[in-house]
């Protein structure tokens, strides 16, 4: 059970990092 928690924590972090990268890329696409 505890292992599952740490695996989920890892997945959540990397998913957030991907979302952050998506936001940066959107910002680049919107530049004038």
């Amino acid at each position: 059970m505890i292992d599952l928690l740490f695996i989920v924590l890892t997945l959540v972090f990397f998913a957030m990092n991907v979302a952050f990268a998506y936001g940066c890329n959107s910002l680049m696409g919107s530049k004038s």
């Binding site: 292992d3 890892t10 990397f14 990092n17 991907v18 990268a21 940066c24 530049k31």
Partner: protein, 582 residues
Amino acid sequence: MPVWLTGNAVAQWALYSAILLLTAKPVGTYMYRVFNGNRTFLSPVLRPLEAGIYRLSRVDEHEEMPWYIYLLAILLFSMVGLLITYLIERTQQWDGSFFNPQHFPNVPAALAWNSAASFTTNTNWQNYGGESTMSYLTQMLGLATHNWMSSATGIVAAVALVRGLARRSAAGIGSFWVDLVRCCVYVLLPMLFVFTLFLVWQGVPQNFSAYTVAHTVQGSVQTIAQGPVATQEAIKELGTNGGGFFNANSSHPYENPTPLTDFVELLTIFLLGSGLVYMFGRWVGNTRQGWALWAAMFVLFSAGFFAAVSFEQNGNHLIASKAHVQTVATSTQPGGNMEGKEVRFGITDSALFATITTDASCGAINAWHDSFTPLGGLVPLTNMATGEVIFGGVGAGLYGMLMYAILAVFIAGLMVGRTPEYLGKKVESFEIKMASIALLISPANILFFSALAVVGAWGTASILNPGPHGLSEILYAFTSQNANNGSAFAGLTTNTNFYNITGGIAMLIGRFLFLTPLLAIGGSMARKKTVAAGLGTFPTDGATFSVLLIAVIVIVAALTFVPAYSLGPILEQLLLNAGKAF
């Protein structure tokens, strides 16, 4: 010569600097050829291996990735690596007698996750003693493998950013998989092969034997740990990883047995970082661009070393006031503050190691930074707080320095009222936004977790020394983890659920969240056209730019962290001057 400086310090700094300077061009040129897919003197031997890996993994050698695909590949590769390492640690009790002759149990969950995050991010922060916790299989397959992969990941991230800065009107910044393979095959493999054999020659063990039980002449029993040390030791320095096979790290005679190994270990910490800076200049078509960054790094390194060595040589006046304690250097003893230092290395070599290991994101140590004088300990702390851009971690130092370079041209542009340019490309609002985000991530990461640690017993219960020194210990821990350094101030018990989890998150943020906006800058710059230099163009290939760069780094680091340092090492030094020690 003043009491706080010795001829030994000047001589070691001069010798080290001269050799580092001489290696920058050949190493940088070699890496330039490797990452451009050019033939090198090792190609006849290594090209079949490279091509075989591509065929086996179905990687297209000519693929080009946009920056976000490049980043996604890094994230995916690192995430899978982290999870595999976690599972290796959590199952090591079944490794068998050959790979786990000491029959170590599985690593506890929180510690295993912290260690997996640590080695994935090139931090190598260790909340455990390697020789008493990890099986040989875990050390080799989980940890040493990550030493390779995390180093290569840092290097190729810098290569991608450099490619983005050098290209014109391009959509891609290379292929992560191709860069990774070339880095491992052409850069790390041959260098580590030679370095490992050198270490074995000097006396570093490389075996799978169970620990030797020795009976001393006094009649006590001593357990002598050993194992596959040399292979991990080599990548520990060359890859600026820093995680020791033994808890005592490079002060242990099996990791660092001779004065020669000590010097070569120091040299290898900066070797690739220094070469990468030359590679950058070569790649953008003007080696002076690289030398301008190199000079700024060298000045900051030298300033840090002489500050650290003088504080340590000056020592602790409370100890010096005791008549029977010799604190002035003589031909037979080093003087100064020798607490926490290996007598083989003395003041100079300990200060040199502490400066270099924290300029880079290495984290290997040959002395206990916790035992440095308050201001002596402030030097490694400040080095890490700059983002370790002083030659830096392999790759990470260069991409961090390029972030400061973009900020520096922006500030110069503001001063002269012109659109800033770097390497013939206009630096616009997107790049500044990304550089600002990258700049803010590190202090937010460090200060948030440090603040969290000092407001509750979950953090403060781990402090060994109360008062300002305790705050320094916490600040150092999160600064080290954010900067992916891994050296510890010691004195702080960090193998707790709180420090294992918050530390793991801080390391992941410091590595991957910091890298994201920088690769975005690479992608954005690659798409731009170059413009001809005009009268309003601020030259970035000369001494003026180096000075501006140093000023930006010092001001940014100082403005961000001075309030926290005032309550930690600075207050501790003032109290020490008043006669109170912690």
